[in-house]
Amino acid sequence: MSLLDQPSSPSLSGGGMTRRQAWGLVGLFAAAVIVWLVFAVWPDWLNAILISKKAFVSAILNGITLAGLYFLVASGFTLIFGLMRNVNLAHGSLYLLGAYIGYEVTSRTGYWLLGVAAGFAVLAIVGVVMQVFVFRRLEGDDLRQTLVSIGISIVAADLMLAVWAGGTYQIATPEWLDGALTLPIITAVRSNGASVFLTYPLYRLVVLAAAIVIGVGLWLMLHRTRVGMMIRAGVDDRAMLQASGVNVHAVFAIVFAVGAGLAGFAGVVGGSALSVAPGEDVRYLLASLVVVIVGGMGSITGAAIGALLIGLAEQIGLVYFPTYGIVLTFVIMVVTLAVRPQGIMGKAR
C-alpha cells in the first residue's frame, strides 16, 4: 500500500515524481534484481536459502514455459467467453481430445508436425460443430449453456476413457526437438575454476516460442484485421454489432473454431512435453479458469499475464514448499478477486 501512497505525496518521494515514474523505478529495480539473480554467480548464503541456483533458475524457466502452455489453452477459453458470455466448461475436454488425436496421428504417420496440425484442425471442426449444433440453440441462456457444457465434458471424458483406456500416453517428439540446450547461464563454478552452465530441454523452449508466436499472432489478428475488429466490437456490444449488419453467427463460429483449435494444439504440444492421461481435461480446465479469472475475462493480454503468474507460482511452489504449493495459485486468485474483481486486464462491466 505504501508504494501506492508514495507518488500522491510528492514531498516524500523527492522532487515531484509522478506515479508513473515511481512505478517505472520499481519495475527497473525488480528487473535488475532478476537479471542479477539469473546471470551472476551466487554467493553461498543465497544458495543456502534457495537450494541452488540451478534449482531456482530452472523453476523460473519451467514456470515460464508452463505459462506458455497455459496461455495456449486459456487464450481460446477467454476469447470464447469474452465474445459469447459462454463459459465453455468443456474446454478441458477439447485439450484432452486434441492430445489423443495428436498421439494417434503421430504414432501412425511418424510425423510429429502432422500430429500437431491434426490436433488443431480436428478440434477446430469440433468447435464449430459444438457452436452450431449446441451453443447456438441456447443463445443468451448462460446457465443452460454452462450446464450443457459440463454435461458434454462428462460424456466426452467417459467416451475418451472407453476409446483410449486409462493408460498414460507419451507423444513422441521428433529427433530434432530432443535433447538439452546449454544456456549461457552459469549455475556454479567448480573448484578447478571451470564454469558449470545450465542445460535446459530444447523442447520446452520451443513450446515457449510457439506460445509467444501464437500470442502475438492472436493480438495482431484482434487488433489489425477486419475479423479481429468485429470480434472486439462483439465483445463490447454484441447487439450493436449485429445491428450494423455483421453476421454475428459467422464471427461466433470463427472464434469457437480458433479457441477450440488452440486447445487441441495445446493438447498435442503439452502431451509431448508432459503426458496424456484421463484427468488432464479437468486439470487444464481448472488452470484456464484460474488464469482467466486472474487475467480478466475476454482479454488476450490478460490471459498472458495470468498464465505467467500461475505458471511461475506453480513451479516455484513445487520446489520451495511442495506441500502448500497448490495454495499459492489460489491465493493469487483470491487476492485478485478481492482487489480487482474484473481481473488484471479485465474491463469493469
Binding site: S58, G166, Q170, Y203, Q315, P322
Partner: protein, 415 residues
Amino acid sequence: MRMHRRTLLALAAFTGLTAPSMALAADDTIKIGLLATFEGPFTVLGEDGERGAMTAVAEMNGTVAGKKIEIVKGSSDASPDSAVRAARKLVEQDGVKVLVGPLSGDEGLAVKDYAKTQPNVTFINGTSAAQDTTLRDPAENFFRFSTDGAQWMAGLGTYAFKDKGYKKVATVAEDYSFPYTQVFGFMAEFCKAGGHVPSKSWVPIGNKDFSSVIAAIPEDVDAIYVALGGADAVNFLTQYQQGGGSAPLIGGSITVDQTVLTSKGKLRDVLKGTPSAGPTADTNDAPAWKAFVEAYKKQPGAFPSPSLFAHGYYVDMKATLLGLDQVGGDVSDGGKKLRDALSKLSFDTPTGKVSLDKNRNAIADIFLTEVTEGADGNLMNKLVKVVPQVNQTLGIPEDEFMKLGAVNRDNPSCP
C-alpha cells in the same frame, strides 16, 4: 422450502422401497464388494487390481461354498474421501458384507477408520500399503494379506549400499502415506548400512511437471530413489530423460511395476538396470508363479506379466474366498466366524506362504529385483534375491520398532 421437504420425502420413500429388495439378495449368491481406483491418476493400476481379483474368482469357477460369487464394483480416484464414499456406497446401499479394497495408501487409512464404524462388515485390503493401516490403531475387522510398503523394500537398502556401492542417495516421492512408508523401508536399511540421504523431495500426487523437482536434486548424489506411481512415474522418468539426467535410479515398488514398464515412450532406456524390491518378481521361476501368470493372462487387457496390484488383489481376494469357503459362505452372524477363519488363515500364494500377525497384517516373502529387457522386448523385473517371510517390523523387535516413530516426511532422516 416446501419443494425441498417434498423432495426429501420422495427420496425417503424411494429408499424405503428399494432398500429391502437389495438386502434380500438371493440366498444362493454371495456379494463381495471390490473397491479400486477406476478413475484418476491410478486408473491403470486399479484396472490391473481388478484383473487380479477376477483371476482369484475365476480360479474358484465363480462359486464359493456352493454359492455364486457376485462382485459389486466401487470406484475411487485414489483420494481418501472418494474411497470412503465408494466403500459407504458398497456397504450401505449395495449391502455387501465382505469388501476387498482399497488400492492406495491414504485410501487404506481412511477405509480402516470407516471399518471401525461397520463392525459387522469384513474388510480385506486390496493393495494399499501404508504402515499405519494395520500397525498403529488397527481396526478389528480390517485384514491385510498383502504386505505394507516398508516390507516391500526389504533387502533394497542393503543391496544399494553394499552391492551397488551408492553412499549418497536423494529421494523423490509422492506426498502421502504410502511413499512415506516406502522411503521409510528403504532408509531403515540404507541408513543403518552407513548411507546418507541429503535431500528428500515430496511432490503432490498427480503432479505433471517434474523438471523443477529434477533441477533441485543435488548434483553430487550417487543415485536417486524414486517412489512414484502410474502416470506420475511416467512423467518423472520421461522428463528426467529429456533433461539429460545421468544419475542411476533406485525404484520404489510401484515405480518399476508393469504398469510403468509397459508405458509407451522413451523412458525405457532410463529404467534398465534399476534395482527395486516388492512383493513380486516377473522372472520368478516358481511353478506356482508361472501358473498364476498364465491364469492372469486370460483376463482381458492383461499386461505381459501381472503388476503388483494384480498380485495384491489376487492374494487378498483369494484369502477372502478361502475364508468364505471355510465358513460355508455364511456371514449371517455379522461375519464373526469369517473373521476368526481369516485371522487363522495361512496359505500358499504364487509368491510363497502368507500368514497374518496379531494386527492382521501379512508376513510374506519379498523379492529383490532389477529391471532388464526380456527376450520379447518387454521390460521385466529380474529376480535377484528372495527375502523370506518379512514381517511388518522388518525383523526388528516390536517395541524397538515402535520407537522409530510413525512414518512421515521427516522420519526417518540421515542427511
